[in-house]
């Protein structure tokens, strides 16, 4: 079976995830790391994941209970005590089917998913952008996260500049 490659937005940060069968379970590649995954679904909507670093010598196996919860206009995965907003962009099987936050008419706010510092602003007000185009790069916990447009549109407002400190949930730019 050929690997499945998808874009997943977790808490507003777009990540590329590749999944393929490996041994008894799955092998995932994300953020340049290879992850061994064992999965079972004890009850519909609940996944038990055992995740290990397949490249490590002493393979640890961390256990996560992932609960799928849909709110009005967004999908949330609860992992232990954390809740993550997720959007799966799958051009193959989900084309146009999934309702995504901010899709359609109206404005869409691009928000910081965690506190950090603005590393770069990639767009200017008035600029037309395409879906997945980078808007702002926020540096947090020594990692740079590029926040991308969830759909095509035009930038109506950029509320931050390079060097600004931002809080979690703070609106960085507004898309129309």
């Amino acid at each position: 079976m050929s690997p499945l490659s998808l874009e997943v937005e977790v808490d507003g940060v777009l990540r590329r995830l590749t999944l393929e069968r490996g041994g008894e379970g799955w092998l995932a590649y994300m953020d340049g790391k290879s992850i061994a995954v064992d999965v079972c679904e004890p009850t519909p909507g609940v996944l038990s994941l055992l995740i290990g670093d397949s490249q490590a010598e002493d393979a640890s196996s961390r256990s996560y209970r992932c609960v799928r919860v849909a709110f009005a206009d967004e999908e949330t995965i609860t992992v232990g005590r954390h809740q993550h907003r997720v959007v799966v962009n799958d051009p193959r099987s989900l084309r146009g089917q999934r309702k995504r936050p901010g899709a359609g008419n109206g404005t869409l706010q691009i928000k910081a998913s965690m506190p950090g510092r603005v590393a770069r602003v990639l767009v200017a007000p008035g600029e037309a952008v395409a879906a997945h185009q980078g808007i702002v790069v926020v540096e947090a916990m020594k990692m740079q996260n590029e926040l991308k447009a969830a759909r095509d549109g035009r930038i109506v407002e950029v509320r931050v500049a390079a060097g600004d400190k931002v809080a979690s949930g703070q609106v960085l730019a507004v898309l129309e």
């Binding site: 977790v10 079972c40 799928r68 709110f71 992992v79 005590r81 799966v88 989900l94």
Partner: protein, 499 residues
Amino acid sequence: MASLRKILIANRGEIALRLVRACRELGISPVAVYSDADRSALHVQHADEAYRLGPAPSVDSYLRGDRILEIARRCGADAVHPGYGFLSENADFAEACATAGITFIGPPAAAMRELGSKTRARAAADRARMPRTPGSVRGLASADEGLKIAKEIGYPVMLKAAAGGGGKGMRAIHRPEELASAFLSASDEALRAFGSGEVYLEKLIERPRHVEIQLLADQHGNVVYLGERECSVQRRHQKVIEEAPSAVVGPELRRRMGEAACRLAREAGYVNAGTVEFLVDEAQNFYFLEVNTRLQVEHAVTELVTGLDLVHLQIAVAEGKPLPFTQDEITLRGHAMEVRVYAEDPENGFLPSPGRIARLLRPGGPGIREDEGVYEGWEVPTEYDPMLSKLIAHAPDRAAAIARLGCAIDEYVIGGIRTNLKLLRRILDDADFQAARIDTGYLDRLLAKSAPESVDREQGSIAAAAIAAVLFTAPPAAPAMSKSQTPWQRDALQQGLCR
């Protein structure tokens, strides 16, 4: 007096289910009533009989005392338990029950009237030699009278509705100039909310803790107190977290508060379970606040530290039985803490969040009690209080109770609607709360600070969420889960029996 055989439960939500269970444990048949919004509610499912009251709004359903009595008569119930809220502190309803020959499980109407009015209760407190806040014991005739009293007792002062509750008809006043207009608006607000514009004035206690004494009185003149509860974590005068014992109440203060509360109960001819609320200042002086003439939402923490069942005792008292223990036989064990789980969105101005509970995973383990009123698939109605359930932990000490309750909150998953679970976890994690540095202004101060980003929002959790999201929403063509087949299915597949 004869034993009760059938009790009509004039309430809904978690308390209705808790009462249904208590009845069943005692071999009493529980009868539920419901509004159109609650036809499929849990308390209806668990009762022996259930009767429709009317349309969803409370005034057309749970507040219809006449309908409730008619149903009680028709189904042969010999008692009504009002729970909390709704008709529980309605003296006219208690009287109507008595007139109809149906036992009202609560205090007599006269005691309810005596203690339900805050001004009359303050006068009764004086007779019971109970400390109260300085101020008037009668309603103010005019703003001028208020100015005179305020000058005597000193600012800041508080205007309060005599018939009040829930913060309505209340105004804090720091300067004389503010009094006249506050008097008018508080009086007007009280008139609209409670049908009485009577307001009185008392000294404002700064940074008070809310500590209340649980009382129990039988029909034979025996009155005991079951320790205290501290409910200082409040938002807009609504309690959010309650615990027993209070971190600031030692044996001596407990005895003084408890005995004062018992004197007040005797003075008012009180019978059944009740609560005397106090404010405790920084010097540990206590001041009478008000009496709640009913079972409280937070009664469970008292049950856990005393080992008693307050609803069983309420029923026994209503049956005319004497209290089965004396004050000396009541001992407190460990620490209990309760959080109220609300369908509301703390990140969005605490807007109520009604809707369908798409997912419900409950916590468990030793020392965890959940008084629940909802289930997975239930549609939380818009018409009522947004409390979903109460989560209560009991442990040997306060720190252990906080840890236990925190773990239970982490296990608790409520999907489809917004809840305050995350805020509750934040409070339990807060250093001031853990050190019991709390007063009734504590939660507002916490909310004014921005929430700390959880430190361990680690990469593993994000990776797990990403992988789970893909497996949930875009399962690859091959069988998605390694364990989704039974051994029989795998064998059958190999043998080509099915695909």
